[in-house]
Each structure stands twice: as structure tokens, then as C-alpha cells.
Symmetry: C2
Subunit: 319 residues, 2 copies
């Protein structure tokens, strides 16, 4: 590690926001030395309460996260927000989102908001998110709110990095089955019905309760349903209280250690996945050969299964 | 390849539905011999028109896909449907979805519907979808409709496996920015505003047009916007026609070859990602050592970055 990186980390650990931003940028860009940075910071993590917030686009997650952050600020907490935003390359979605947010928190150094863009072909969004959470945790942010924009397999993996997961739903959206079958029901520790001034709130609450009654949680926690109207702050106090109770319950629960192991496993696998594919794409194919093979696959003169099989067969682990 | 697998593939290629179902199950479960099956089938693929349909939960994708399938049936097409459903382990979401569908297609052998469940920790949903599309394509299904349930990074990767991508939106859902920034705008070849009898359809159409005007497509295709009410079949005829035009345009376009290469690349990387992680988890850790390491990471006595770095450093490629 160069002297400058050492100094940077010292500044970060002292709470300097610019150092924090620079470290995250290095880590996000996989700049040289970023693995060493993460290694240094990891032992200093595990202190923050990490809260994942997921739900469909349009469910009002961003407003909810902003309100939560503001409420934690009033309790003198130093909040980190990671908005995982598979932004469009041509709309610059992340930038737009940040601009809207800056109106709320731009001048408060107690809330640090970071938007993450999609990582292109190779996935790695869960891995990159785990990295940023590691940095924020080491920098003393607590709680750390992870907000996903979509609801998909990758987002579910991201939320698995959190200690507590909140699923945000809205009345009338995805009537009945559809909104609930998107694989998000089993990851929710708390369910929020946002925009609860809309019609259909009872129906949605019944549907969620019905789904939850089929659940087989082994830790004894019964996921509560909280109604909110994030835009005017209604229900946020209750939600904060519920998060606190959930945290306390899970902390005392005997399955807590198991959950910590799951988070650790998810973190390990996320990092492994990304680094492995990068390594193989860089090292397994001589210059230009990858493009050649891709062309052959497109023309059906080669098949991807044989190519991968050959690579896998050719891998050896040094002892 | 055992004799029985050989026979099974012969039956599949003759159009036998039960053989098809059995082959897909083998491939999905990564049963012994499944890689060999995929190798055998891959050269017979590339004939089907693969159409990806994505959009938020509740946008009415399932109804739309059902209507599309029915319309293609009227043109005497043999349709394959892959519903990529990160289903809940406790709700059995996929089963529920299938039951609803069976009412429509249960007795028509000309439509083959397959629901895919999430693949657990290791992701691989895109890889598994690519495998199933390979089997359906080889079995002569054309078109093949891939329907994703969520909208996330993984779903975007799945839709990249398609020749043509349809993004389904609904009026009023995710007012303005939010519905559009979920990273799905740049992958749409056709935009559908479903449930267009709802208020806000003009607003949504304007928002989509505005986003599209910022696009930088190099192939000259201008993504059209089609209004539908899937539940009563309204707009489906126009949508089928639009898909045909899009297909024809892209087929003649000089970027067609490039798109085929991108699909091939995505397929290769999806397969590579999954197989690599499986290989490493199986081979890089002696019995029980993975659990040991996960425990140490959870307790911060070890960090995931160093573990992965050591594995990566230890990989050698045999010449």
C-alpha cells in the first residue's frame, strides 16, 4: 500500500467525507490497490446496522429512505445510504436521482448518499455493493441503508447483504398475486405499505398477511406490516421503532449468528463471482481469441458449453 | 452419452412434448450428462425468434405473454414460453402462476410453457434461462417468449439473450422518473403501455418518448410505443405486427451480426459465471473448510477479499 493510500484511509477513519468519497470511487472503479484497501477496512466493519430496502419501481422507496435517513439524523445517527441503481447509460438515471436527493441532504454532512451504477455485462452489482457497505461501515456510518431500484434476482442478493430487510409495497399495484410472487416475500423482515392513502390498502395488507401465514421462519420473528405515506412522513416514526424492535429481537435470537454467517457467505460468493470471471476473461484467452470464439458461437460453429467445459477442465489449483 | 439420453434427444427433435419436459428438467437440475445434451443441441439452435418481455410486477406481462402466444398460435406457430420467476420458496409462486396459465393453454400442445425458479445463492438465472431457450429452440419452438417477473440487473441480463426486447409499462405506475430509470429503457426495442384504459396513458407515453429521444441507437431502429389492454386482447394484433416489423428491420440491419455476437457473448459469460463458481466452491476448499472460512469472515477474523485473492492467485490454466 502506498503512503498516499495509507493517509487516505487515516482521513477516512477520522470521518473525512472527501476521503470517504475518494476511497469509494477507487473501490468502485477497481483501481489498483482497492483490494488492499478493502482488506484493511474489513476488520473494522460489522458495527453498523445494515438495512436493505427493496420494492418495485414506483413504490416510493427513495422518499421512504430519505425520510428514514432524516429521522435517524434527528437521533444524532451518522447515516450512510447506498442507492443501487442499474442506471441507463443514456438517461443517466443515477445522476437524476442524486440531484433530487441533494435538495434534501446536500448540506448535512451527517448523511452520506452514494448511488451505484450497474456494472455492465459481468454483473458484480452485489459484489460492488458489498464493497461500498464495507467502506461505509468502516467509516463509522450507522445505520447504512441499502436501497435497490428494481426487484430482481440481483436485488435480492443485494438485500441479503443486509441485517434487516424491508419490502415496500403500494396498494393497488400489481393486484394480488403478481406483486407478491416476485421472490421478495421471503426476504422481508418488515413490510411497508407505502402510499397508504390510496385505495386498496386493506386488500394489500390481507394479501401480505396471507402470504406471511405460509412462512416458515425458524427464528420466531413475525414480520410486521407498517403503513406509511413517505411523502409527508406519516408512519416513519412507527417504522423506525419497528426496525429497532426487529434489530433487538434478531440480536437476541439464536439464529442471529446464522444470519451473520449467511451475510458473510453472500459477501464471499459475490466477491468470488466477480473476480473469477474477470480473471478467466483476462487470462484464459490469448489476445483476440475471446472475440474469435464469440463470433463462432454466434454462427453456431462452436458452442458455449464446450468452451466453458474446456476452460473449467484446464483450471488447476496450486497447492 | 448414454443410449437413453440419445433416444430422449431423438424424441425431443421429433417434437415429443414429454421428452422436451424431461430434457429441460435434466438441464435445469444440472443432472449428469446435461452439458453433453446442451452441446448436442446447440448447433441446432438460432432458428427461433426469441422475444424477451420485461416490466415491473403488476404491469400485466403474464396476460400479455398469454395473448401473444394465443395470437401466434392462430398463425400456426409452435410457441415456447419461458417464465423466469424468482419464486418464493414458501409461496411456491411459480406453481401458482402455472396453474393460472394452464387454464388457457393446458390442452394446446402448440404452446409449451415452462416456469423457471430462482437458482439460489449462486445466481445462474441467466445461465439457466439460456439453457432452456437452447433446448426449446432445438425442439423447434418459434417464437420463444421469455417473460421475466421482476425488473432488475439479472432480468436485464436475461432479456439480453433475446433478439427483440419488449418493455411493458402501465400508466400511473411509478410516476415519471422512477419507472423509467430502472435501467430498462435502453434495452427496449418495443415499448408497450398496457392497461391503457387507465388514467395517465398520455403522460406515460410522453415520458417514454422523451426518454427515447435521448437514445443513441446506432442501428436506425426507432422503438415504437404500442398501447394494449392485454386482458381483453386490445392492441395485440398491432403488437404482433410491430414485432414482425422490428424483426425484419433488425434482420436487414448491418448491426444484426453485432447483436447476434452480443447474445453469444452474454450466453458464454452466463455459462462461464455459473460453472466457474461451482468449480471453485467444489474444488478450492477441502471438506468443511468453506464453512470454517465463512465463520471466520462473519466474526471478522478473516476477510473475504484476502480469501478470494488467495484463490485467484492459486489458479493456473493448463496449456
Amino acid at each position: 500500500m502506498t503512503e498516499s493510500v495509507h493517509d487516505l484511509l487515516q482521513e477516512l477513519l477520522k470521518g473525512d467525507t472527501r476521503a470517504l468519497a475518494r476511497v469509494i470511487t477507487r473501490v468502485e472503479n477497481r483501481a489498483p490497490g482497492s483490494v488492499e484497501i478493502l482488506r484493511q477496512l474489513y476488520p473494522r466493519t460489522g458495527k453498523a446496522q445494515v438495512i436493505g430496502i427493496t420494492g418495485s419501481p414506483g413504490s416510493g422507496k427513495s422518499s421512504l429512505v430519505d425520510r428514514l435517513a432524516a429521522a435517524y439524523r434527528q437521533k444524532s445517527k451518522i447515516v450512510g445510504v447506498v442507492a443501487v441503481d442499474p442506471s441507463s447509460p443514456f438517461t443517466g438515471g443515477a445522476i437524476l436521482g442524486d440531484r433530487i436527493r441533494m435538495r434534501t441532504f446536500g448540506i448535512d454532512p451527517g448523511v452520506y448518499v452514494r448511488s451505484m451504477a450497474a456494472r455492465g455485462h459481468l454483473g458484480g452489482l452485489a459484489s460492488a455493493t458489498a464493497d461500498v457497505v464495507t467502506v461505509l461501515d468502516a467509516a463509522g456510518k450507522d445505520p447504512i441503508l441499502i436501497e435497490t431500484v428494481g426487484v430482481g434476482q440481483d436485488e435480492i442478493e443485494i438485500v441479503k447483504l443486509a441485517d434487516i430487510s424491508i419490502v415496500v409495497l403500494v396498494p393497488g399495484m400489481g393486484d394480488d398475486v403478481q406483486a407478491l410472487k416476485a421472490g421478495i416475500m421471503e426476504i422481508g423482515d418488515i413490510f411497508v405499505i407505502n402510499k397508504c392513502d390510496r385505495a386498496g390498502v386493506e386488500k394489500m395488507e390481507h394479501a401480505v398477511s396471507a402470504m406471511l401465514s405460509l412462512s416458515h421462519r425458524t427464528d420466531g420473528w413475525e414480520p410486521p406490516i407498517v403503513r406509511t405515506i413517505a411523502t409527508d412522513g406519516q408512519g416513519i416514526g412507527e417504522l423506525i421503532e419497528t426496525i429497532g424492535k426487529c434489530h433487538q429481537f434478531l440480536d437476541n435470537s439464536i439464529v442471529r449468528a446464522q444470519k451473520k454467517r449467511e451475510v458473510a457467505r453472500q459477501h464471499l460468493i459475490s466477491v468470488l463471482e466477480e473476480r473469477l470471471v474477470m480473471k478467466v476473461l483476462n487470462d484464459a484467452f490469448p489476445e483476440g481469441q475471446l472475440e474469435d470464439i464469440v463470433g463462432k458461437i454466434a454462427e453456431r460453429r462452436q458452442d458455449p458449453y464446450s468452451v466453458v467445459e474446456e476452460i473449467i477442465q484446464g483450471i488447476a489449483f496450486k497447492k
